[in-house]
């Protein structure tokens, strides 16, 4: 099962490559569509592990995985329904993913090399600054109490933006498990349209909701019907 130590988790590109290599395929759109399900399963396991053991770095890894997952879902959808027209932006994003995977594949040996060097290193050491000098009190010529206050204030201000950034990322993380439960509940409550499920939800959350939908579909908990592309997805409990 899952190692809980976050050090064991690799990034999304690494995982994706591993899955593609596992199928002995090249990096193509077909192979990407092929491994989408496995990738989502891995993501589900990650989110489950995260629920059992809240951990900051794991949450961050999941956020990273979600970005790639949404691109894969796009590829998968296109593979299943070839008549889907991808927008220019979507097409670029898929090409980007392919390009990144190619590059990542090339630099993978680099990571291995550095990892080895890091482990088997013989370090050099330098001396501390003026290590032979005893401290002497040398006040700066111009320094006032106000300088200290202003400097600290601007540091605190920049801290605020970093904390906000942290919260933003955390807000983006909706665990798949939660969404599966939510979706399941809402269908039980009588909701029958996917658009109702994702109304007023952020793009990120909508993606996870769609993931949840795929999971319920796979587990044969529900049936879906879509008369036309971009039309309403009708939901029905099995």
């Amino acid at each position: 099962m899952f190692e809980m130590k976050s050090v064991e988790f690799s990034g999304p590109l690494d995982k994706l490559l591993e899955l593609i290599e596992g199928k002995k395929m090249d990096i193509t759109r077909i192979s990407l569509a092929e491994v989408t399900a496995d990738f989502l399963t891995y993501l589900k396991d990650l989110t489950q592990a995260n629920q059992e053991n809240k951990n900051d770095s794991l949450s961050r890894i999941i956020a990273d995985f979600l970005v790639v997952a949404s691109q894969l879902i796009l590829i998968k959808s296109k593979a299943i329904l070839p008549e889907i027209e991808l927008s220019e932006e979507e097409e670029e994003s898929i090409q980007d993913l392919e390009k990144r995977l190619e590059l990542y594949n090339q630099i993978k040996p680099m990571l291995a090399v550095l990892k080895k060097s890091w482990k088997e290193n013989s370090p050099s050491f330098s001396r501390e600054m003026f290590s032979s000098i005893q401290p002497v009190f040398y006040p700066p010529l111009k320094i006032s109490i106000n300088d200290l206050k202003l400097s600290l204030q601007s540091l605190v201000d920049s801290l605020g933006s970093f904390i906000l950034e942290t919260e933003k990322i955390e807000r983006q993380i909706f665990t798949l498990e939660e969404k599966v439960a939510e979706l399941s509940q809402r269908i039980t409550d009588g909701i029958s349209k996917f658009s109702q499920v994702i109304s007023k939800k952020s793009r990120q959350e909508a993606i996870v909701m769609f993931l949840a939908l795929l999971h319920l579909l796979r587990d044969q908990v529900l049936r879906v019907k879509q008369s036309e592309i971009f039309k309403e997805i009708e939901l029905e409990r099995v």
Binding site: G11, L103, Q106, L114, N121, P123
Partner: protein, 192 residues
């Protein structure tokens, strides 16, 4: 003869200054402290570096971005175990390793480039690496460029970054990739 004598003196003075200061110094700072020209400082540095190659010397000269610092030869690290910094003993996570190797082999590199190649947001990892002192960043234009720090070089016992294993080979990947990128389109989202 006179000039040679002067050179020798500069090498000795250089050694004394670098020993005392202990932190990296660039040519400008050295020439100012030693009251010689940057040309003379450069000659003295080269001679010092050459002298250190001798088997009876225990030091190396580490260089990064035009700055230099004296450090112990890596072969003697087993005698100096207790100087290893606590926060360098820890293993690197796969994400840190990924980011650090990009910075080591592809420096100087922007956060946007790192994010693009990794396919994920790297701000936390970069912050962590900065805090651990393994990478430096410098402002260029309106963005930060990241590069390996002196502490990183020291930790691996390298005199400069090009001593990293297979450095040239991986540099080529970077050159191929980035030159293809920049010739292809004007609007490159990843490299702004």
């Amino acid at each position: 003869m006179e000039e040679n004598k002067q050179n020798q003196n500069n090498v000795a003075a250089l050694e004394a200054v670098m020993f005392l200061y202990g932190e990296p110094m660039d040519l400008e700072k050295l020439s100012k402290v030693m009251k010689i020209s940057t040309e003379e400082a450069k000659t003295a540095l080269e001679e010092l570096k050459n002298n250190l190659l001798s088997e009876n010397r225990g030091l190396i000269l580490i260089e990064k971005g035009g700055s230099f610092v004296l450090a112990t030869k890596p072969e003697f690290s087993s005698f100096l175990d207790n100087f290893v910094r606590e926060n360098l003993k820890e293993d690197l996570t796969p994400a840190s390793l990924e980011t650090l190797s990009l910075i080591a082999y592809f420096s100087p590199i922007s956060r946007a480039q790192i994010d693009y190649i990794r396919g994920v947001n790297s701000s936390f990892i970069l912050r962590n690496l900065l805090i651990r002192g393994l990478v430096d960043r410098k402002m260029k234009g309106n963005m930060y460029l990241y590069e390996p720090s002196f502490d990183f070089l020291k930790h691996l016992g390298l005199e400069n970054i090009s001593q990293l294993p297979e450095f040239v080979r991986f540099q080529q990947i970077k050159d191929n990739y980035f030159s293809a990128e920049s010739s292809k389109s004007e609007n490159q989202p990843a490299f702004i």
